[in-house]
């Protein structure tokens, strides 16, 4: 047959991305077939190749675009006039909010790294390092002004990000606590972990 009425290229590509993100998150990249993605959006597997040259390209796109969105989102939120303390709190709140809201997107960006081919992996890792750099710079600044007391800059950066990202593993929108409350608790823990309250 011919094109379905009203279907437009960009729209279809987006539908594919959405279906893929959701399926990859639930079952993993390797366990999801092009047919499965197509079925989800009423499309033959072959048609996906009009929009993405290979399954690997599709995955790469999802991860790169996620990282770019994340970086841009923080860029918009960042305010270089803030003190390190304020900046750290802002980062904690931002990271948490972003990671519980984007859900699947974020999840696969952690889980599917190993399914990227070498070049794609390197590209995504570079973006991830860039994002971690944001926290590292804050911690570094605060250490230099003496408000943070940190054992090792690299370890602390990784530890804080791991702690925050872990929220993805158990957060439920209809859970016992509101996101605001959760954020407050994490702010408390992170500021404690970087020795902000010591005198």
């Amino acid at each position: 047959m011919a094109r379905k009425v009203g279907s437009v290229g960009a729209e279809t590509a987006d539908k594919v991305r959405l279906a893929a993100v959701s399926l990859f998150a639930r079952y993993g990249y390797a366990a999801v077939s092009m047919r499965q993605i197509g079925r989800e959006i009423d499309l033959q597997a072959g048609a996906i190749y009009n929009h993405f040259p290979t399954k690997q390209h599709l995955l790469r796109g999802l991860l790169v675009e996620h990282m770019e969105r994340l970086l841009k989102a923080w860029d918009l939120e960042e305010d270089t006039s803030r003190s390190p303390e304020e900046a750290l709190v802002a980062f904690v709140r931002f990271h948490l909010r972003y990671h519980v809201e984007c859900g699947d997107d974020v999840f696969i960006s952690y889980m599917e790294l190993r399914n990227l081919e070498e070049d794609n992996y390197a590209e995504v890792q570079k973006l991830r390092r860039q994002y971690e750099g944001n926290l590292r710079r804050i911690l570094d600044a605060g250490t230099k002004t003496g408000v943070f007391h940190i054992g090792d800059l690299h370890i602390t950066t990784m530890a804080v990000i791991a702690m925050l990202t872990g929220v993805m593993g158990w957060y439920r929108q209809d859970g016992r606590l509101s996101l605001d409350e959760i954020e407050a608790f994490y702010v408390e823990m992170v500021t404690g972990a970087v020795g902000m309250k010591e005198d």
Copy 2:
């Protein structure tokens, strides 16, 4: 043809487990084939089925056995005569050490949960909750004696475990820092995060 000279059932099963853990960690359960596992240990794929009834059973076994080893290891390390502060430090050191040493084992127990079929998933999750209970009890005790200042017991438990487990993501045996140093930094961060140093 027939059995290789000197081959014994239990040994072969162990070799399969070892190869599987390593391959699953590197490429993911879904992306690893029985043939690949066999190739690694010079065995036909079919022969694996003399020791494990399905690929899913093999995975389930790896995760369950890992969790049981982890639980038993902490049971041996635990010392109920310790104060909550001492217990927390012991837990941090234990968890870190276990998670950098066992490597692949631990890694797949986090990554491959979603590849477990329903029943197996429930079984592993139950063991995981049991392990988290160990930290929760410590935090609870310390909160009651007033040495920890915690916003929410559940969140703090999850956050601390996520922070510690994150070490898996970047630890290299030949890295810049020794495991002892790394442990010290994490102890510092965790005690900070649970408000141990506040007055």
Copy 3:
């Protein structure tokens, strides 16, 4: 790669059915592989699954369609204005002719019943009972008008059908006797068996 020039779905499906009937008849359903069927018609085994969801579906289709063709063929031949004697002769000639001509088709419909899964088996058996009903009605009518002398309606129905169907086991197109002669002999035997010539 892609579709062969000129290949069309329905045609391929028909070629598969033809090859399958012939192979199932010769070697039996369980002993024939999808690859073997594909090889026969220059098709990859996998491509068969574009037309039949499983091997079992393929078998079910062959048997059901055969029975439906058989039922329809007799419907066309049937003439309700005939006397029971005439009807019996017509049935004998029809059944024989159909069973030596269709060959493989008929053969597997007797041999492969046990390879049908429960539901499919029930479906085919129902059609078979329907066909036997045609003979039973003739015998019943003739018994009531007194031209047939039958011990048991059910047994006689089964016995006559078995006798006629047996022709499949030894008939050769280039045999000693013509189909017409064979039909005449069977008519003689069947009319004898139902006591038509007794006074």
Copy 4:
């Protein structure tokens, strides 16, 4: 381990034969595995090879032995002093009784012919022809003495045997009719079919 206590070669071989007959009858030779046969009688598949060199030998044995038993059974029953009429009745009763009693045995001897390799097939067919010869001789004798009126000796032989053998397809031990009644009905039909009652 070693031999199970009390197990003796001939006994085991018999158990294998019994299990095989039953499974082959239910699922077909090609669909039954050596493991399945073993499982039925608590034996490893490999152990079967102590008693039968291959699966094909096992099948051949079952069919040949069945045919030999059948031939010997008729030999014992045969009474050359009987008239052709009496002999025909005796054959009908014998064949029916044998075919409903031996069940599986008989069934596979009809169904699994095509799974025999060439030589074995020829061997079994020879025995089958021999058995059919018994009926043919009776019909021939009766034709010559003028008590039977037969169109074609070969066709009638095949037709009568097919009619009788068909009983296997529907006979149930707990059915509506006793075996004696059934035999009587078949005697009636067969004598009719061979024109015995005509004057």
